[in-house]
């Protein structure tokens, strides 16, 4: 395919018609700065092919603000050896006209032709999207999408494949892939994604196992049932045979015989035992008799012994009796000595008492005398004391009061003196018998009186003279005097004296009496410290003691006159007596001992004598002799019996030993056990029979075999179903495997040409590198030296380069298949470094030999060595303006 001319008008910034013609079959480098309309031209080519003329979704084509615009694109190109002329208008004038050589197509028909030619689809509604773009989507690279190739390949897939089919001459199955999907769906009903049975297939497999297990169990039970039936049969047989034969009865008979034999032996044994006992009796008897005989024989001997004993006792008695007088005399002597000593002791004691009494009397008389004297003195002192006490009491007076009295008297005296000095003195010298009464006080003779008070002096027969003392102090003196006098009188009255002198005298007398009293009291204390009464009592006691002592002395016997000289002191007398007493006691003990011995010996002698007599009587008794003879006879008889018995015993013993009673006993036990065992076995049989019968009845009721048959039927059903599924599974497995394999083989065949073209470019870019195409014809694994990986893992620049060489490879493939190819690159390879870009230029140049390539760029300088003349959009615009039409 070769695009020759492109014209746009009323399209974005190309409000005016813009023409780009003379496009070359190989490389075309179109450049212009940003916003110059580079991308608009690319968009215009796309729109001409992809967008439906009648769509309203291409507002982006409209020049800005021009709602009346009808964006129009006119394309002239050669394809399939024909000349194509396409005019497509949008929006305001929706039209599509296509002329192929001289044949014209319009509208949808025209668009179908285009889609068929290039291999793309139209969008059913709205703007065309990448999934519709098909082959052009792969070969027309928009700005910045060069590296994204997977999607584009997928969208172009069918076209690529059909191209490959025609190329390789293979027929990919129509709907083969769909078929694979169907088979896979059916396969998935039976298998999990990993190929394991699932769903019914898996369930049935398990069910089969479960059924098999149940059947196994049932069969095991049936087996057991049958074994039990067999056991029952055998047991029944055994039981009945045994019941018929009754083997224990034979044994019982044997047992009886053995028992009988054993009983006989036992009887023998019993007899043996009895006779052995008899023998023992005999032996005992013999022994006893022998003993008796010996005893009788021994009596004579005993008699002699007893005689000897008697003689000895007699002898000893006599010896003892001989000692008796000596013992008696010694005790007598001891007694005498003791009595003498006792008497002497008595005398000594008497003497002692008397002398002590005499001493007591002397002491008491002395004491009595002293006491009497003291008593006398004490009485005297007592009397004096009493007198002094009386004296003291009589003159009892308070010395302080006396002092007050004396003071009062003194004051009075002084007052009186003073009053006398001031008092009216009345002096009289009366004739005898003449009488005067002063203040009714008769006055006689001569006298003087100081008057201090008004006084009246009655003179008989004369009348009364009143005297009134004068003076200034008289009244007070008189009152003072009177008070003092009264006080004195009161004090004296109180003291009980008539005068002050008396009072003083009494004081002195009292003090003297007190002194005497104290003195007497001391004296009395010296003779009778506790008092006279005690003294008197002491004296009386002493006196009575004295009297008593005297009486005692008088009563005590006077020592015997002759003895006086022997009398020593009491202590030595006592010692002597004690000595004598001890000796006497010894003598007496000796005597007692002697007497006891005497008695004992006499007793012994008597006993021996009586025994001797007794024995002598016995021995000399005729009965004794007879007994002896009888014993001898008896002994002989017993001996004979014994010998015979022993012979019998021995014979019988032999008999018993030969009968082997222990073995017989064992036999009995053995037979008994056998019987018991036999019977028990039979009983057990019966029991087991019953058990088995019961068990079998229960099991039989379950209908095990019928159950088992049913289970087998179920298993087989399950198995059949499983087999069906299994067969189907196997078939599907096979089918799927085959389909997949064939499909893969085909893909591999298809991949080959593409791989060839890819390798061609790759070797230019990366020598020794490989890039493999996968089953979907996408570039897949990339390897370079030791590197191995997916394209997606490469750097952005490398990916873009890979993308581009892949696209060129597809283009080669399509071209080989006779499909039209046009490569449009919009500002591509901007991320490539200089070296790579250099390689890419070689590649592009190479590809341009086979394809028309439109390369749009805003960096013309980068592409200056591409070997083609760059075309400047701005320049072309200028041209268009300057050359209208």
């Amino acid at each position: 395919m070769r695009l020759r001319r492109l014209k746009v008008e009323q399209l974005r910034q190309f409000r005016q018609p813009f023409v780009m013609d003379d496009l070359q079959p190989g490389l075309n480098l179109i450049h212009g700065p940003n916003e110059s309309g580079k991308s608009t031209l690319v968009r215009a080519i796309r729109a001409a092919f992809f967008e439906r003329y009648r769509t309203s979704s291409v507002d982006d084509l409209r020049p800005w603000g021009d709602s009346a615009a009808a964006p129009t694109i006119t394309l002239d190109f050669d394809a399939q050896h024909k000349s194509w002329h396409l005019v497509k208008s949008f929006l305001q004038r929706k039209r599509c006209d296509l002329t192929i050589d001289s044949t014209s197509y319009t509208e949808d028909e025209a668009e179908e032709k285009l889609a068929e030619l290039l291999g793309f689809q139209f969008s059913a509604k709205g703007v065309s999207k990448p999934e519709h773009w098909g082959v052009p989507g792969l070969l027309w690279v928009e700005q910045g999408t060069g590296q994204n190739i997977e999607q584009a390949v997928e969208h172009a897939g069918e076209h690529l494949k059909s191209a490959l089919n025609s190329l390789v001459g293979e027929v990919a199955s129509t709907g083969g892939d769909e078929l694979i999907e169907q088979v896979k769906a059916r396969w998935s009903e039976l298998f999990t994604p990993t190929g394991k049975p699932s769903g019914d297939y898996q369930r049935l497999e398990k069910e089969r196992e479960v059924h098999q297990q149940e059947i196994d169990e049932l069969q095991a039970r049936i087996q057991k049932y049958q074994e039990q039936v067999d056991r029952l049969g055998k047991l029944t047989q055994d039981y009945e045979r045994t019941q018929h034969e009754r083997p224990w009865e034979e044994v019982e008979r044997q047992l009886e015989q053995t028992k009988e034999r054993y009983r006989q032996v036992q009887k023998l044994e019993q007899q043996q035992a009895q006779e052995k006992e008899t023998l023992t009796h005999l032996q005992n008897n013999q022994q006893l008799l022998r003993q008796n005989q010996e005893q009788l024989w021994s009596l004579n001997k005993k008699l002699e012994v007893r005689k000897a004993e008697l003689d000895k006792a007699q002898r000893e008695l006599e010896q003892a009796e001989a000692r008796s007088p000596a013992t008696a005399s010694s005790i007598k002597a001891a007694k005498t000595a003791y009595e003498a000593a006792a008497k002497q002791l008595e005398q000594a004691r008497l003497q002692d008492i008397r002398s002590r009494l005499e001493q007591d009397i002397r002491r008491l008389e002395q004491q009595n005398q002293t006491l009497t004297q003291n008593l006398e003195k004490a009485r005297q002192y007592q009397q004096e004391l009493e007198q002094a006490r009386e004296q003291s009491r009589q003159n009892q007076i308070d010395s302080r009061e006396v002092k007050v009295l004396k003071n009062t008297e003194h004051q009075l005296k002084e007052e009186r003196i003073r009053s006398q000095t001031i008092a009216t003195r009345l002096t009289w010298q009366l004739e005898p018998g003449a009488r005067l009464a002063l203040n009714e006080e008769p006055l006689e003779g001569q006298g003087e009186r100081q008057l201090l008070e008004e006084s009246s002096l009655v003179i008989t027969g004369v009348g009364t003279l009143g005297i009134t003392p004068g003076g200034e102090d008289l009244a007070s003196t008189r009152r003072k005097l009177s008070a003092l006098e009264q006080s004195l009188t009161e004090q004296m009255t109180t003291l009980g004296v008539d005068s002050v002198q008396q009072a003083e005298y009494r004081v002195a007398a009292h003090e003297a009496a007190e002194r005497t009293l104290r003195h007497s009291r001391e004296l009395l204390g010296s003779v009778a410290p506790v008092g006279i009464d005690q003294l008197l009592a002491d004296q009386k006691e002493t006196e009575s003691e004295l009297q008593k002592a005297k009486a005692q002395l008088q009563n005590s016997p006077a020592p015997e006159p002759g003895q006086q000289a022997q009398v020593t002191d009491v202590a030595s007398a006592e010692a002597k007596r004690t000595q004598a007493e001890t000796r006497l006691a010894e003598a007496e003990a000796e005597e007692r001992k002697h007497q006891t011995e005497l008695l004992t010996r006499r007793q012994t002698r008597d006993n021996a004598e009586s025994e001797w007599y007794q024995l002598q009587d016995e021995v000399q008794n005729p009965e004794h002799q007879k007994q002896l003879q009888k014993l001898s006879a008896e002994l002989a008889g017993i001996e004979d019996k014994r010998v015979r018995l022993e012979a019998t015993l021995q014979a019988r013993e032999q008999e018993i030993i030969e009968a082997r009673p222990s073995i017989l006993k064992q036999d009995i036990e053995r037979y008994q056990r056998s019987i018991s065992n036999l019977r028990q076995t039979q009983e057990e049989r019966q029991r087991e029979l019953r058990d088995i019968q019961v068990r079998l009845e229960a099991w039989g009721a379950e209908g095990l075999e019928e159950q088992c048959n049913e289970k087998v039927a179920e298993l087989e059903k399950c198995h059949r179903r499983y087999q069906e599924l299994h067969r189907r599974a196997q078939a599907l497995n096979l089918l799927l495997t085959l389909l997949t394999e064939k499909r893969q083989a085909l893909t591999r065949r298809l991949q080959a040409p593409l791989q060839k073209h890819l390798n061609h470019y790759l070797s230019l870019l990366f020598p020794q590198a490989t890039l493999e195409v996968d089953e979907h014809l996408r570039p897949g694994t990339f390897s370079r030296g030791t590197e191995l990986g997916q394209i997606a893992e490469l750097s952005f620049g490398a990916r873009e380069q890979m993308g581009l060489i892949s696209r060129l490879a597809y283009a080669d493939l399509l071209r080989e298949a006779g499909r039209p190819t046009l490569v449009i690159l919009d500002d591509t390879l901007v991320h490539s470094d200089t070296d790579r870009l250099e390689d890419m230029k070689r590649i592009l140049f190479d590809a341009a030999n086979r394809h028309q390539i439109l390369l749009f760029t805003c960096h013309p300088e980068k592409w200056s060595d591409l070997g083609v003349a760059p075309r400047d959009i701005l320049a072309m615009k200028e041209q268009a303006c300057s050359a209208p039409g």
């Binding site: 293979e170 027929v171 990919a172 199955s173 129509t174 709907g175 083969g176 769909e178 078929l179 169907q182 088979v183 059916r186 049936i222 049932y225 049958q226 039990q228 039936v229 067999d230 029952l232 049969g233 055998k234 047991l235 029944t236 088995i692 019968q693 079998l696 009845e697 099991w699 039989g700 009721a701 379950e702 209908g703 095990l704 075999e705 019928e706 159950q707 048959n709 049913e710 087998v712 039927a713 179920e714 298993l715 087989e716 059903k717 067969r727 189907r728 196997q730 078939a731 599907l732 497995n733 096979l734 089918l735 085959l738 389909l739 064939k742 499909r743 083989a745 085909l746």
Partner: protein, 373 residues
Amino acid sequence: MPKFLHTADWQMGRAFSRFETEDGAALVEARFEAIEKLARLANEHQCDAVLVAGDVFDAQTVADRTIRRVFNATREFTGPWVMLPGNHDAALAESVWTRAKRLGAVPDNVHLALEPGVINLKPQGLAILCAPLTQRNTYSDLTETFNTLETPESLIRVGLAHGSVQGVLPEDIDSTNPILPNRAETARLDYLALGDWHGTKQIDERTWYSGTPEPERFRNNGAGYALVVNVPKPGALPKVTPLETARYQWHQWREILTVESDLDQLLDRLQALPELSVVDLRLEGSITLAGEEKLINALSVAEARFRSIQCDRSGLQLEPTDDDIAALKADGYVGEVIEHLRIQQQDEDAEAARDALAILAGLLKDRKQEASE
């Protein structure tokens, strides 16, 4: 002129595991009906007794219900029945018979020959010499005692035994429960009623296998009969008349399909079978896709018609014709797959290849139909 019905091998309690549950149940039911039919026939033919020569039950431990139903089914004929334990229901210490007795299921007119000896049916003029199996299998001839067993002169001497007559039956080498071929002669029997062989079979003029009254497997010849035996008088030759008793006919066909007409013939034959049939087909050879479709349709129809039909096609190769393949529109690698499978059918994994091919053909056909719609 005593007359009796001779039957055997009822095999009650047998399950038919190879069939679908429903079919199996129907076949079991048919066996009960067979007993009822025997009772009816005994009445119809004025038989004096019914002799069952062993294997009344298929197993010792059948369900109680089965036991009761068996005896219930005999009710219609009130004359004496003599049932002999066979190898399946031997008179063991504990057996289906002891259970039946315990259950009280055995009617008075049914005589169980659980011990060897003679059962005298005086009113009927019959003396039945019984040789029951008292073990599952014996290797001695149990009928030997017949030689010495005495019976009243006036009674017909009929032996009743279960086992294989030596040297007569196929597959009887070393077989258990042997029976002397000329036992009827040696034991002076008027008739020897045998069981164990499931097809009706005459051994000599006095010795017969009655066979099972209702077939229960494909491989027996002449199953489905009972024998009416008429012995005019002691010593006279018996007159034996087989009566058909079977409800279902069992057919097992092994066919090799080579040309298309083979299939047509087969289908015609199938069509001709009565409805009460149990069919087992095994097909070999090859068949076209069209033929396969036809066969499947025919089998589908047959399934509805017969009691049971089973068809084993694993030995049958699918041979799609060029037309078939063209009709399937299998191009490209799918075509290759078909070709591969066709060839693989000759290999060891033929079955899978055949099935795979059938599945593929089915899918393609469906697609074609979808496309045409």
